[in-house]
């Protein structure tokens, strides 16, 4: 039974279709990365999962319950860190943490004090005087000090320094070791790579990829540079080969990992003299999904469709 299950979710604001058939599945005990460009619908999805927004169509289940109808019961089993933490200006940080903990149904005092120490947060300061990073720490401490089954974290570390980022990653590993499930929306790729078992990438309100990072890497093209004894021909006819260009007698191309084998079989017939192959970096993986087109290919002027149109 997945902890979060979303199918074909639709949410519109006026004429804007914020979510347009989104799918998401988060299994129990996993840390699930939730990625996408700004404005792609991550926060809207999270607000629907929290029963704050009402879905227009599709399915959304949390712990196999309806997040809109059973909001309060569900909220006792989860903790939420909003992307933009807003607090009561005239309460102290410590008071805000205790209040959130109590409203959520209880707080582990020992954990709370430990976390304050780890995150180096002064609980006696008024919330009005906190920086963005410190307000986030208040929400993070309040969430991690509650003993819940699901943590919904919306860009929780966008205001934290690298030291605090490391503390945050330790804490996520700890709650994962305790068996909790985490939905982590983030733009910090190193954080995603370090923490997430699986990721879902969304764009314009739809899920474009979902799986483990290894699986996603397989979906992305490998860059190959090859030098052969005889002139290379017939590459265009091969499946999964893109962006072919010749520079100084070397051929540069990109190939989908699934078709790497066929490409190599083809190349050996021309007498390979030199061959390099570079797997995609995580960054390239995201740029491919975030941007309109792949910037590298476009800059080189070999994007078939655009180049042909010129």
């Amino acid at each position: 039974m997945p902890v979060i299950e979303i199918g074909n979710l639709v949410k519109t604001f006026g004429s804007v279709r914020a979510l347009d058939g989104l799918d998401l599945r988060v299994e129990a005990g996993e840390v699930h990365g939730f990625l996408g460009p700004n404005g792609s619908g991550k926060s809207t999805t999270i607000r629907i999962l929290l029963g704050l927004l009402r879905r227009d169509a599709g399915e959304a289940r949390v712990f196999d319950a309806d997040p809109w109808r059973d909001a309060v019961a569900l909220h006792r089993r989860l903790a939420y860190v909003p992307g933009d933490v807003s607090l009561w200006p005239n309460l102290s940080g410590g008071e805000a943490i205790d209040l959130f903990g109590k409203l959520r149904g209880g707080l582990d005092r020992r954990r709370r004090d430990e976390l304050l120490d780890h995150f180096d947060l002064d609980p006696t300061r008024k919330c009005r005087t906190y920086s963005k990073g410190n307000r986030q720490k208040v929400a993070i401490v309040a969430a991690f000090a509650s003993n819940v089954e699901l943590y919904v974290l919306d860009e929780p570390t966008s205001g934290l320094d690298p030291l605090m980022e490391a503390v945050f990653q330790d804490e996520v590993r700890r709650i994962k070791a305790d068996g909790a499930t985490v939905l982590l929306s983030s733009h910090v790729l190193a954080e995603v790579e370090a923490l997430c078992d699986r990721v879902s990438i969304i764009r314009e309100g739809r899920t474009v990829e979902s799986g483990t990072l290894t699986e996603l890497r397989h979906l992305t093209r490998t860059a190959v540079t090859v030098e052969t004894a005889r002139p290379l021909t017939g590459l265009e006819a091969l499946p999964g080969v893109h962006a072919i260009r010749e520079v100084d007698g070397r051929t540069h191309l990109e190939v989908e990992p699934a078709h790497l084998d066929e490409l190599l079989g083809h190349l050996v017939r021309f007498g390979v003299r030199a061959l390099t192959s570079t797997p995609p970096t995580l960054e390239e993986l995201f740029l491919r999904h975030y941007g309109d087109e792949r910037p590298a290919a476009e800059a080189a002027g070999v994007n078939g469709r655009r180049a042909g149109a010129r």
């Binding site: 006792r76 205790d98 149904g105 006696t124 008024k126």
Partner: protein
């Protein structure tokens, strides 16, 4: 780069952000002035009617305290007496809110930081706000002058009268420029500025009450406290009678002094900071805070305390003034007749006390709107989202806010009745008995306040984005219907729109249960509609 670089661009930004608000103010206030003036002209068409009105106004301490010192029996003087304080308060409060909105609120939200990092001088934000607000005052005053003249009053006097009212706005523009430097929150800056308006009102009222009746009994020469009050200066101009232009130098001088002070303060502090360093709080929360009710009490207690002090002081003063009112009636049977006709009751002092309780109920309506609009404030700044993601249901959260506002209103009306009764009892005998009687009479006003809470709740549920503007507009309509409905000779159907119209005017008349029951039912219906809509809508929206 000078300290004023970018002022022009920022002033255009202020105009762009507030184009609707400013338009409503600049067009609406003169329109209201025109309507009021025209109705006064029709109610007091001839010299005997105006003479009677002026004599009553000059001899009644209550009229002096609320309407100010009448300058004579000319038509213009009567119009000023009937309209000045309403228009002056509108100009004063709108000016202060506008200044704070474009100065301290920008700092609080961080917009000022973003703008300050651009090619913008240190004083540019403040100067841009002041330029626009002063210009709005000038424009509104110009239109008001046209409106007064259009209602059939002499042109020269109309210009002076409108300038006097615009001068009040200009003076409080300066006051707000200073309070925006002092407090770190826009709420605090607005509260300080509003307190300054309140003090100005009390000073003026004291000076006018203590003044002498001259010129055959149709003029009041104010005592010195009125000269300390920017609200008093507008009266001292004596538009239509003496047209003392030179008095208008006072608000201009105050503006210049206040702006200089504000610049000096801005020079000495960091962006976002106030003059008072923020205090530390406890490292962990007391048990009493850890519930929606505890939180509501914690967030409201400061505001409620401020209101309680104000209500108690005002109630006590009004109670004590009741005895002077008695003496005044004995000396002036003509005035007694006039008030009997206005109050409707047989016993004049009861009519006076009932009128005071009615005024308190209207004023406390502002507390209810302010307290209830916290729900919208929490929603727009994002706190509500975090709270509703915990184990607190929407119904429980909203119910707690309504209960807190209703209990606050209950405490304030009760306090108003008790202090008024106590004050009157101390000068007329039987303080405890009168305090208890008036406390009970004041509680009868509570259903109207519940309707106000219901209106805000319904707007919050159904039209969240418009709830702030419409809630205040609704209260303003209730206020205008109550205070000016009779002057404007509005039909009863219009007057019935205000819940305050239906409250039995105890102790002037006998209490009747039916209107109270109906009002409570209306309040419950509005609250239920608001809560149902809130449970079914998106948060935030």
């Amino acid at each position: 780069m000078s300290a004023l670089t970018g002022t022009g661009t920022l002033a255009r930004l202020v105009l762009r952000r507030d184009r609707v608000r400013l338009a409503i103010w600049v067009l609406g206030a003169p329109l209201l002035g025109y309507a009021l003036a025209q109705s006064v002209v029709s109610v007091y068409p001839d010299e005997p009617a105006r003479l009677g009105y002026a004599t009553t106004s000059a001899s009644s301490l209550v009229a002096r305290a609320f309407n100010g010192p009448i300058a004579g029996s000319d038509l213009g003087a009567v119009v000023v007496a009937e309209t000045y304080i309403t228009l002056a308060l509108i100009f004063a409060l709108l000016s202060t809110f506008a200044v704070v909105r474009h100065t301290r609120q920008n700092e609080e939200t961080g917009r000022a930081e973003l703008l300050g990092a651009a090619v913008v001088g240190r004083y540019a934000l403040l100067t841009a706000a002041l330029l626009v607000v002063v210009a709005a005052n000038v424009a509104a005053a110009a239109l008001l002058a046209a409106g007064l003249a259009g209602a059939g009053l002499p042109l020269a006097g109309s210009v002076v009268a409108a300038a006097a009212i615009g001068g009040v706005g200009v003076a409080f523009t300066g006051v707000a420029a200073v309070t925006a430097q002092l407090s770190v929150t826009s709420r605090g800056a607005n509260a300080l500025a509003a307190a300054a308006v309140g003090v100005a009102f009390l000073l003026r009222a004291a000076g006018d009450v203590l003044g002498d009746q001259t010129d055959g009994g149709v003029r009041v020469e104010s005592a010195w406290p009125s000269w300390l009050s920017p609200l008093g200066w507008g009266n001292q101009v004596r538009a239509y009678v003496d047209d003392r232009w030179w008095v208008l130098a006072l608000p201009v001088a105050l503006l210049l002094a206040a702006v200089a002070a504000a610049y000096a303060l801005a020079e000495r502090r960091d962006i976002g900071a106030g003059l008072v360093a923020p205090r530390r709080g406890p490292a962990s929360a007391a048990a009493g805070l850890l519930s929606p009710a505890g939180l509501a009490w914690r967030l409201q207690r400061g505001t409620l305390l401020g209101w309680a002090v104000g209500v108690a002081v005002l109630g006590f003063s009004m109670g004590i003034a009741g005895d002077e009112f008695n003496a005044m009636i004995e000396e002036n049977p003509a005035a007694a007749e006039a008030i009997a006709a206005m109050g409707g009751g047989a016993d004049l002092i009861d009519a006076y006390l009932a009128a005071m309780l009615g005024l308190f109920a209207l004023t406390i309506g502002a507390y209810v709107v302010q307290a209830m609009l916290r729900v919208r404030g929490d929603e727009s700044d994002g706190v509500l989202e975090a709270v509703l993601a915990t184990g607190v249901s929407r119904g429980r959260w909203l119910g707690t806010q309504v209960a807190a506002a209703a209990l606050g209103a209950l405490a304030l009306v009760l306090l108003a009745g008790l202090t008024t009764g106590l004050g009157y009892g101390l000068v007329a005998g039987d303080p405890v008995g009168r305090a208890v009687d008036l406390g009970g009479a004041a509680l009868l006003r509570l259903p109207a306040l519940l309707v106000v809470a219901g209106v805000v709740t319904a707007l919050f549920g159904l039209l969240p984005r418009w709830s702030v503007v419409l809630s205040w507009a609704a209260l303003l309509v209730f206020l205008l219907l109550g205070q000016l409905g009779a002057v404007l000779e509005l039909p009863q159907a219009a007057l019935n729109l205000s819940p305050y119209t239906h409250i039995p005017s105890v102790p002037a008349v006998e209490a009747t249960a039916l209107p109270l029951v109906v009002l409570t039912a209306v309040a419950v219906a509005l609250l239920a509609a608001g809560a149902a809509a809130f449970r079914h809508r998106d948060v935030p929206s």
